[in-house]
């Protein structure tokens, strides 16, 4: 008798798909690595130090909160790593490192642990961290440096190494010594907002044209996003909706308002819109789960971004647009619940079907034919 002696009871289904939280998060981290490498290539050791310090601070904060039982999850789920990398990419490369530690800690503490950890957070933790330091250190976060500076791999941007709680060193004087004017360290969006000069969209697309104060190349970010979307670790609808609605809104205003406003391509490729659309808005926990909700959510973010950029005192609006979108997510989900099978208008026949329903039944269905569901019981002969 070879039959088993000890069996266990489980509830169906007894097999499990290959997908896991760790796998999703690890793939997002992999897709972020080329972007981080490009960032380091642009800004040298300051950028590398910033990425390492901010990510380490996020991981330490996560570890502390998981240890104390404040939040669910663990370090091995990679979600804190994603938060750290994304946060570092949104900060200026010469951002003082101690401020980076503050940003990383507040991202996890205020953005994640406060709500209960992975899955429970209402707002994107990286953006919460950035919003915190934007409020706390408005000067430092607006101080950009031009990319591809000579000697960037041997020398820190002086502001990076500021002592904690001390004002960072003046970057403008350091740049002047390197024969750069003050304008060179303004971001293209700030240049447009405050100086009225436009950068060519083609230059923005690659981030490679000279000493611009820009983030990693939008083309690279889109390529990495495409990898995630193709392997279905990210929903393609959200970036499509964000970029589509931002482009459309910018184009409408451009077409109606004329020269006062920049062309839609400048809007799309400048600032953090691409990074925000591909990596921030798509954060699973803070975006809707319903397909229609994703479109609505993305469209809301796109419109808000352009509106904030055009009509507020800030040059950049992606962060606030996404945070507002996050806040609206439960509401959006509620009004975009999927239509259950057999309850929608899809009762009408699909055209490409192999067989057609007999016309009698289509009309019967429309006339509201009765179901004979309970009939078997009713007709049961009495014993």
């Amino acid at each position: 008798m070879t039959a088993p002696t000890r069996t266990e009871i489980r509830s169906a289904p007894h097999i499990k798909g290959p997908r896991s939280v760790e796998q999703i998060m690890a793939n997002v981290v992999y897709s972020l690595l080329p972007i981080c490498a490009f960032f380091v290539y642009q800004y040298g050791i300051s950028a590398a130090a910033s990425i390492l310090v901010v990510t380490a601070s996020c991981l330490l904060a996560e570890r502390a909160f998981v240890r104390t039982g404040t939040q669910a999850g663990s370090l091995s789920d990679f979600s804190a790593t994603i938060t750290g990398l994304l946060l570092a990419l949104t900060l200026p490369p010469g951002f003082p490192l101690w401020m980076g530690v503050v940003a990383g800690f507040s991202a996890i503490a205020l953005g994640k642990a406060l709500f209960g950890g992975i899955g429970f957070n209402v707002f994107n933790p990286a953006l919460v961290g950035r919003a915190f330091v934007q409020a706390a250190f408005p000067a430092a976060i607006a101080t950009y440096t031009p990319s591809f500076l000579p000697g960037r791999f041997t020398q820190f941007i002086p502001s990076s190494l500021a002592w904690p709680l001390m004002a960072p060193a003046d970057t403008a004087a350091w740049l002047k010594a390197m024969q750069f004017d003050a304008l060179a360290s303004a971001t293209p969006l700030a240049k447009w907002k405050f100086e009225g000069t436009l950068t060519a969209a083609g230059d923005l697309l690659t981030s490679l044209a000279g000493h611009m104060a820009v983030g990693p190349s939008p083309v690279l970010i889109l390529a990495c996003g495409a990898y995630l979307a193709l392997r279905r670790f990210m929903d393609w609808r959200i970036p499509a909706a964000v970029l589509g609605s931002a482009g459309l809104t910018a184009w409408l205003i451009f077409a109606l308002g004329g020269t006062k406003y920049p062309d839609p391509f400048f809007m799309l490729f400048s600032g953090g819109l691409i990074l925000g659309a591909v990596y921030m808005a798509t954060d699973m926990a803070t975006s809707p789960v319903t397909p229609r909700g994703m479109w609505l959510y993305g469209a809301l973010i796109g419109v808000l971004t352009v509106v904030i950029r055009y009509y507020s005192g800030l040059p950049e609006g992606v962060m606030y647009a996404i945070l507002i979108g996050n806040a609206a997510t439960p509401l959006i989900e509620r009004i975009t619940q999927p239509t259950p099978f057999g309850k929608g208008a899809a009762i009408r026949a699909r055209k490409s079907a192999s067989y057609t329903l007999h016309p009698d039944y289509i009309s019967r269905e429309e006339a509201g034919a009765k179901t004979p569901k309970k009939r078997f019981f009713k007709n049961k002969p009495k014993q």
């Binding site: 002696t5 289904p13 192999s354 057609t356 569901k373």
Partner: protein
């Protein structure tokens, strides 16, 4: 792939693609010998249990009726082997620990020949007599639900059936019993379809086969009677296509309205296994005493499709097929919707389409997985064939808001296919929670 079908509007929407694992698709159906004792439960179907018409100590012949139908929604049982009724008592079955069963001690050298049955000329029968003949044969849906076939073939007053849909999808991984039946019993199937069409008054029959079984489609096409209104249609493979509503959508592009039967669209759906058995049993006037069961699983020495006498204990089946001693889980049915059994004394009944055995190491990958809170990735929403929002339902279940699940989020439409749990990266037991919630709602409705 998914994107493509999305644009072409193929099959039904959403669903999942678990690995097929149909390792036994190319081995012929083999016969299982009789176990020394056969345990025939009186309730192997949906509806009222049948009433025993034999007494303890009575000799029964293979094929002889041993229990009569109790009312309309009930079917008789037949003796699967020649022997002596040893007991009529409570025994464990897949339905529960104590169900009334007729235990037959099988005579040694009992013949495989069916010794009971009166050949009948069905073509002379009016439709309602065919339905009665189906009931006399003890037929139930062999796909797994075990709903009495005669009730399904009865067209209620005022309704009209136009199409007989024959379900040959067998979307569950591992199972190949329907596949083998389609290949080896294509002619029986055509006979069964013809009688079912006459019973229901259907003008045409459409056999839906998943496109991972080209051999089955080919065999059935070859067996088609010339000039008949029977069509074989291959539909793209996807789980849960074997659900009748999904198959209708795949074939006709229409959705059966929520809460209604396919009958409201003039259709009756039957499983290929059921109709093939009908085609074999009805002309001979015999009862259902055996069925094809897929016995498989990693580590099973002789996996395959076996023609198993009903009432054979699982332990005997496993022993014969060479199940590994370190097996830890035995599942009746497929891995997506099957039921794991606690006792190996449980008999094979009419609704058992497969016996699936998993060892400890086969479960390890699943057991080692951590559970996370819902990260709202939306995979479950993308996979739910009924268009529900399992993510939201799961959160409500965790908060025990069962009424909201039923009223606002259409829990009643869930047919527990398990797609949401299968895809969930957070390893949340969604469908298990829904089963509990449905049970609680049912109890509330009664109270």
């Amino acid at each position: 792939m998914k994107l493509l079908s999305y644009f072409r509007g193929e099959a039904f929407q959403r669903g999942v693609h678990p690995p097929g694992c149909k390792h036994t698709a190319d081995t012929r159906i083999r016969r299982l010998p009789f176990a020394p004792r056969l345990i025939v439960p009186l309730s192997q179907h949906i509806g009222r249990p049948s009433q025993p018409i034999v007494r303890v100590g009575e000799e029964v012949l293979r094929g002889q009726p041993i229990a009569a139908a109790d009312g309309w929604l009930s079917v008789p049982q037949h003796a699967p082997a020649t022997g002596v009724v040893e007991a009529i008592e409570l025994r464990p079955s897949a339905r529960g620990p104590w169900t009334e069963c007729i235990v037959i001690r099988v005579y040694e050298a009992s013949t495989q020949e069916v010794l009971w049955g009166t050949p009948q000329d069905l073509d002379a029968f009016p439709p309602q007599d065919i339905v009665l003949a189906v009931q006399r044969a003890g037929m139930v849906g062999l796909g797994g639900a075990a709903f009495p076939s005669h009730a399904k073939l009865t067209v209620p007053e005022g309704a009209k059936v136009e199409t007989l849909v024959v379900n040959g999808c067998e979307c569950e991984p591992y199972l190949t019993c329907d596949h083998r039946v389609m290949v080896e019993q294509a002619r029986d199937l055509m006979v069964g379809i013809r009688h079912a069409m006459r019973a229901t008054g259907a003008q045409r029959a459409i056999i839906g086969v998943e496109d991972n079984k080209p051999a089955a489609a080919e065999a059935m096409r070859r067996a088609l009677p010339p000039g008949s209104e029977i069509f074989v249609e291959e539909v793209p493979t996807k789980y849960p296509q074997g659900s009748e509503k999904m198959l209708i959508t795949a074939l006709f592009g229409v959705e059966v309205p929520s809460g209604k039967l396919p009958l409201s669209l003039g259709m009756v759906v039957n499983n290929v296994g059921t109709l093939a058995a009908l085609g074999r049993l009805l002309p001979a006037g015999q009862g259902l005493i055996e069925r094809v069961v897929t016995v498989t699983g990693p580590g099973v020495a002789r996996p395959g499709d076996y023609r198993v006498p009903l009432g054979t204990p699982i332990s005997f089946v496993l022993d014969y097929a060479g199940a590994p001693a370190q097996a830890r889980q035995v599942i009746l049915g497929g891995p997506m919707m099957g039921q794991s059994v606690a006792s190996l004394d449980v008999p094979v009944t009419k609704g058992v389409s497969g016996v699936l055995v998993f060892r400890g190491e086969d479960m390890a990958g699943r057991e080692g997985r951590r559970s996370y809170p819902c990260i709202k990735c939306g995979e479950c929403v993308e996979s739910c064939p009924m268009g529900l929002n399992p993510s939201m339902l799961g959160m409500l279940a965790a908060r025990r808001e069962y009424d909201a699940m039923g009223e606002q989020y259409h829990l009643g439409d869930c047919f527990e296919c398990g797609c949401c749990t299968y895809t969930c990266p957070s390893n949340i037991p969604l469908v298990q929670q829904f089963r509990v919630a449905k049970q609680i709602l049912r109890e509330k409705a009664v109270a």
